[in-house]
């Protein structure tokens, strides 16, 4: 049983990592009061840019290219919603459609190429702990990077002046503006940060998780990341939990037939999407919990005065 559990848990962490990056990024964007439904598109753009970068500069270069491309992809969205005050859901949707097209267009040059992938970085000492070692400390360094990013963000949001300003902008742009904070500039930064994180998530997919480019390879992960932010009630810790739950779901679905579940593979593949709906329902029925944590100005355009 243990021999079976360890690889399942270890691959769960790897499968969840794109969701961790993209979800944490969207969480920061939403904390500033902006909802960006373009995560799927930014992830795809990050994936194709990451693959291109990975061909030349290895995984680290690929992730950097993905981050840069994701942040750039967020710019037109930021300009439209923040400088021109357009409808945020619609603009995000446009970004997703644009991203699907752009990534497929650029990606045509990379079809049928592949990257070497990444060897796990086994942490001496810790990796020898029974059960925990092989699950947590024999991962690729990108997975460790995702934990560091999480720790840094959780600390920054809760404990620093920067986090406070970000939350103030999301709760009440009028008040933040009155005290003298540049609301629009902060929202630009938060939106581009979200784009960069989505880009890293996409680049992780195309350089580490399945080191090749496939059209539409994110397969809805960007949308699941958006749903995870709601599930997390805008709290980084819960977001991690949610991401790993979903990572587990994608992996279990691969192992289900081995475990004796007699369902066709196509229906099992639909399970994460059904689970997203179930999770949204469970969290949305608790109105108070959502209202309490929802950034008060989320999705409302604010054009300075």
């Amino acid at each position: 049983m243990i021999e079976y559990l360890v690889p399942v848990l270890a691959t769960t962490l790897a499968a969840a990592t794109p969701l961790v990056f993209a979800g944490l990024g969207e969480l920061v964007t939403e904390k500033s009061g902006v909802i960006n439904l373009g995560v799927e598109g930014m992830m795809l753009i990050g994936a194709v840019a990451g693959f291109a970068g990975g061909l030349h500069w290895g995984v680290a270069g690929g992730l950097l290219c993905g981050a840069l491309a994701g942040a750039l992809a967020a710019l037109p969205f930021a300009f439209l919603t923040l400088s021109l005050g357009t409808n945020q859901p619609a603009t995000g949707l446009a970004l997703t459609i644009f991203g699907i097209g752009l990534s497929a267009f650029v990606g045509q040059y990379f079809v049928s190429q592949s990257l070497p992938g990444l060897q796990p970085l086994i942490i001496p000492g810790l990796a020898e702990i029974p059960l925990l070692g092989p699950v947590f400390f024999s991962q690729s360094w990108v997975v460790y990077l995702s934990w560091l990013t999480f720790a840094w963000l959780a600390w920054m949001l809760a404990r620093t002046r920067w986090g406070l300003i970000l939350r103030a902008v999301g709760e009440s742009p009028e008040a933040a503006h009155a005290i003298g904070y540049p609301v629009t500039a902060i929202r630009y930064a938060a939106t581009c940060f979200g784009g960069a994180m989505a880009g890293i998530g996409g680049a992780y997919l195309s350089t580490v998780y399945t080191p090749l480019w496939v059209q539409n390879m994110t397969a809805g992960r960007g949308w699941i990341a958006v749903a995870l932010v709601v599930f997390a009630t805008w709290k980084p810790g819960r977001l991690m939990l949610g991401a790993y739950l979903f990572g587990g779901m994608t992996i279990l679905q691969l192992h289900a037939q081995g475990l004796g579940v007699e369902l066709p593979s196509q229906l099992l593949a639909a399970v994460p999407y059904v689970a997203t709906i179930v999770v949204l329902v469970l969290i949305s029925r608790d109105r108070k919990l959502l209202q309490l944590n929802l950034p008060a100005s989320l999705g409302k355009p604010w054009i300075g005065n």
Partner: protein
């Protein structure tokens, strides 16, 4: 550092100018992309927008592609007016196609003029039910319809994939994941010899005036619009917010389902994985570019169908990937939203006042 300021009154000129302006800007950027790729822009425009319309086959294909887009967008526009964002019409379309194909497969070998209407009805019911799920989730549990409709679109894709590779796979065919070819009573007949255009385009043509009448005359549509423009006023007037959600999602789902049924029984003639080239997503843009107005949607639907055709032509004659039409669709929506901002806002004209 603010770029824009509110207008005293919304600009009517901008409201009508925004779609042509967005189209023009998209074309300009497209020309830039073509030039970058080393394709002469004028030749590319010719391939993209003129060549497809030079043959009767081109017009037949244009109408075939425009009718599902128009039909779905009419339904979506109802909801968008009420700020109910159904972005999973693709899933409702697929469910419509699945249900219609079910009728075709189980009546295979039978005769009767009732089969085709039964298929369209099954499509409407299937799409409507797929739209009813997010309506129930929204009204009962407050789950956002944007995410639930989209997740259900993914579920529908896998459902389709399971059916055509499992229980409904053509037993006599090769191993391709597709159903049997439908028999004659389960297909729309071509209108002209040698062209694919068939009677299914009449469905869209007949439903456009229905939607127009509904939007212009019905009290229900008025309630939907008030619910979107002024939710507080709608509540005060006693309009049910839940009914708004149900009507928007079920009608748009049913319209998408009919479009799916018409695809399966029309140009495709069987249930396959590649039944829809993303009509459900493109229809969102069609609804917006068409100003959520039934007639505007017809024009926008024809334009979007042309973008699809152009994409196919560019693929064949210029070796550009078909995904380029997604790129143009995204840009078109970007530019439209940007141009729309100038309906209520104008470029900032006041000088900074220093206190």
């Amino acid at each position: 550092m603010q770029l824009i300021e509110p207008r005293a009154n919304p600009s009517r000129t901008m409201r009508w100018l925004a779609p042509p302006l967005a189209i023009l800007l998209t074309l300009l950027v497209a020309a830039g992309i073509f030039a970058l790729l080393g394709k002469p822009p004028l030749q590319a425009f010719y391939v993209f927008f003129i060549e497809p319309l030079e043959t009767s086959n081109g017009w037949s294909e244009l109408l075939l592609k425009a009718s599902p887009l128009i039909l779905i967008a009419q339904g979506l526009a109802l909801g968008f007016r009420a700020r109910i964002y159904n972005i999973g019409a693709e899933g409702q379309l697929l469910l419509g196609a699945i249900c219609a194909s079910g009728v075709a497969i189980y009546t295979d070998g039978m005769e009767g003029a009732w089969i085709l209407p039964a298929m369209v009805l099954a499509g409407a019911v299937g799409g409507g039910l797929w739209g009813a799920i997010p309506a129930w989730l929204r009204t009962r549990f407050q789950a956002q319809e944007t995410l639930t409709t989209l997740m259900l679109a993914y579920v529908a894709t896998y459902l389709l994939s399971w059916l055509v590779s499992g229980p409904w796979r053509d037993p006599s065919g090769t191993n391709f994941p597709q159903s049997i070819l439908f028999a004659e009573p389960a297909m729309f007949t071509p209108l002209f010899e040698g062209l694919r255009i068939n009677a299914s385009v009449y469905i869209a043509a007949a439903l456009v005036p229905v939607f127009w009448l509904f939007v212009a005359k019905s009290f229900m549509a008025y309630q939907l619009a008030v619910g979107g423009e002024a939710p507080a006023a709608a509540r005060y007037a006693g309009f049910s917010a839940n009914r708004t959600v149900w009507v928007s999602l079920v009608i748009s789902g049913a319209a998408a389902g009919i479009a799916g049924a018409a695809e399966a029984a029309g140009p495709v003639g069987q249930l396959t994985l590649s039944l829809s080239p993303g009509y459900g997503y493109a229809a969102i843009i069609v609804a917006w570019v068409g100003r959520l107005h039934p007639l505007g949607i017809v024009l926008a639907g024809l334009l979007m169908a042309l973008i699809y055709l152009g994409g196919e032509a560019a693929q064949v004659s210029m070796q550009l990937p078909a995904a380029i039409s997604w790129l143009f669709q995204g840009m078109l929506l970007f530019f439209l939203l940007g141009a729309d901002a100038f309906v209520d806002f104008r470029l900032r004209q006041r000088k900074e006042v220093t206190a």
